[in-house]
């Protein structure tokens, strides 16, 4: 049982708690393709195995689609963001994914996706794939690489921005009576967050069902299932769940800035509240470690509509 204070909006109970978030390094790319489909394909592949820094080295996702008339080369585009715990990890993961997932993707081209305090190598690193046939072009202060590929050329800007002002680990715990209603509310929240610039939800479809706690009975594991939020363990553990909660889903949010994360959580909360408790979530909470580990605290009561 939760001992937290709470308040209610449109029937949805909101815990007076906070999401505890951490500084991250963030970067991103603008990927274009011959069609929306292929721009999205490159973006999806590149951000596929990027749910948590713990196992994937980085957290990444699609920020938004960009219309053809708004991209540098006049083709449909997608902006992806990528976050990691250090600048070095960030650069390494970005270049690795760029090489494995975007360079390989037919018709793709890559441009800087983020303006940051620092520039990291993208094309400048990947160019060597050209085996000496790569061509550098500098236009309006930016450097581009043209790397010959089997479908023509892979065009890739030399660098993209990297910011250490990023924030990772914004989250919402959406609790509902059953899977269907909880999912309905969570999906609405994810859709709302997707419209926020500069923030992504790295887990599958933006949602994670395997919330975790720190530590495990097994020595080798650093984290294990968050039993306090598992409905099937309600009776046998010190549960955080009320009897009326039959399902919990979590949205984890990474953003280029503190504001982007706050904005995303605000949008998510608003969508959940708007749906109301009848069709959607009964209760919304957030995950934290007691406030001792992460410097950024997003209090739900500040963000709720």
């Amino acid at each position: 049982m939760s001992g937290l204070k709470s308040f209610t909006r449109n029937g949805v109970r909101i815990d007076e708690t906070f999401a505890e978030a951490f500084p991250m390094s963030g970067t991103g790319l603008l990927i274009t393709g011959p069609t929306r489909r292929w721009a999205n394909q490159a973006a999806t592949t590149m951000t596929g195995f990027a749910t948590s820094v713990i196992g994937c080295g980085a957290e990444a996702g699609i920020d938004r689609e960009i219309a053809a008339n708004k991209t540098p080369d006049g083709r449909p585009g997608v902006r992806v963001l990528l976050f990691a715990m250090s600048e070095a990890d960030c650069e390494k993961q970005l270049v690795n994914r760029l090489g494995q997932c975007v360079l390989t993707c037919p018709g793709s081209a890559v441009f800087a996706g983020v303006e940051g305090e620092k520039q990291i190598k993208t094309g400048d690193a990947i160019r060597y794939f050209g085996d000496g046939w790569q061509i550098s072009k500098r236009l309006d202060g930016k450097r581009y690489w043209r790397v010959p590929t089997m479908d023509g050329e892979f065009l890739c800007e030399g660098t993209t921005g990297l910011t250490s002002q990023s924030v990772g680990g914004g989250n919402l715990l959406i609790m509902g009576a059953d899977f269907a209603s909880t999912m309905r509310a969570t999906e609405a929240a994810v859709d709302a967050i997707a419209r926020v610039d500069g923030a992504i939800t790295p887990f599958p479809g933006g949602i994670v069902r395997s919330g975790s706690k720190v530590g495990s009975k097994y020595k080798a594991l650093f984290a294990s299932t968050n039993d306090a939020y598992c409905p099937t363990l309600r009776g046998v553990t010190a549960s955080a769940l009320d009897p009326e909660i039959g399902c919990v889903l979590e949205i984890v949010i990474d953003g280029l800035t503190y504001d982007a994360v706050a904005q995303a959580m605000r949008a998510g909360l608003a969508a959940i509240v708007k749906m109301g408790a009848k069709r959607g979530a009964r209760r919304v909470g957030a995950g934290n470690y007691g406030g001792k580990l992460g410097p950024h605290h997003f209090h739900l009561k500040d963000l709720a509509p």
């Binding site: 540098p72 080369d73 006049g74 083709r75 081209a109 000496g132 046939w133 061509i135 550098s136 072009k137 500098r138 236009l139 309006d140 581009y144 043209r146 023509g152 050329e153 065009l155």
Partner: protein, 268 residues
């Protein structure tokens, strides 16, 4: 803000070296001091006051009312500000420019934009030979910035070009892009024979293929994404060049006499 205006009195009897008349170099001078600057190039050099009537104004915008083929080194090494010439100029216009804008309504002589590293140069008329080329002994030609020539360029445009974007609207002479090191030359009119002779890297885009050396090899027509970037960048400054860049292009790789990593692009 009123520009500083130099109005030509009459055709000068000698070549003038106008490199001293840039915003930075005039910023601290009184108009009387400006009038005393020696700009002639012979043993009894003309002074500014002999050649021009001066109308004082903001030193960051300089206008020449009336030009001459004896106006050499206009805007040389300029870093910021604007120079506009209503008329023609001589040699080395905008040579070694680093920033700012130089606009010439008429024609320019040889070695326009020689070794420029930045800024924007626009020449309303034709320009002479060796557009952007290095001066004798120097190793590199134009090294940055954007140059638009509304008329034709002479022979060996962009010789030894290293970087930057040059668009010539009405055509160019022989050996365009000779010994190019890198960079991009777009010529939206007819081009003379043997473009790209001894080019190492770089791109020359032309509306039709002139006579080329056998050390350029047909690589066929494949979409090249980068041309769209150039088209966008040039759209406002030279719609003619932008239109050429939006066409499907065929690539000829060369010059294999040297490194062989340059390219000639013509509509497929």
């Amino acid at each position: 803000m009123k520009p500083l205006v130099f109005t030509l009195r009459s055709e000068p009897v000698e070549r003038l070296d106008l490199s001293a008349l840039t915003p930075a170099r005039l910023s601290d001078l009184s108009s009387a001091a400006i009038e005393k600057l020696a700009i002639g190039t012979t043993q009894r050099p003309l002074r500014v006051g002999d050649v021009f009537r001066l109308r004082d104004g903001d030193r960051s915008v300089i206008r020449f009312s009336g030009g001459s083929s004896r106006f050499d080194r206009i805007a040389m090494a300029m870093e910021s500000g604007v120079i506009e010439v209503d008329g023609m100029v001589g040699r080395e216009a905008g040579c070694g420019m680093r920033g700012g804008a130089l606009t010439i309504s008429g024609a320019a002589g040889d070695y326009a934009a020689s070794g420029a590293r930045g800024g924007a140069i626009e020449i309303g008329g034709d320009c002479g030979d060796f557009l952007g080329a290095p001066l004798v002994g120097e190793m590199e030609g134009i090294n940055g910035g954007v140059v638009i020539v509304r008329g034709r360029a002479g022979h060996r445009a962009c010789d030894r070009m290293r970087r930057g974007l040059v668009a010539v609207e009405k055509g160019a002479g022989e050996y365009a892009g000779s010994r190019m090191i890198a960079g991009t030359l777009v010529v939206a009119g007819p081009v003379g024979g043997f473009p790209g002779t001894m080019m190492r890297r770089g791109t020359i885009i032309m509306p039709a293929l002139p006579e080329i050396a056998p050390t350029f090899l047909d690589c066929g027509a494949t979409p090249l994404g980068f041309t769209a970037l150039y088209a966008t960048s040039l759209a406002a400054r030279s719609p003619r060049a932008a239109r050429l860049l939006r066409r499907a292009l065929r690539r000829f790789g060369g010059d294999t006499a040297t490194l062989g990593k340059g390219e000639l692009l013509v509509p497929a």
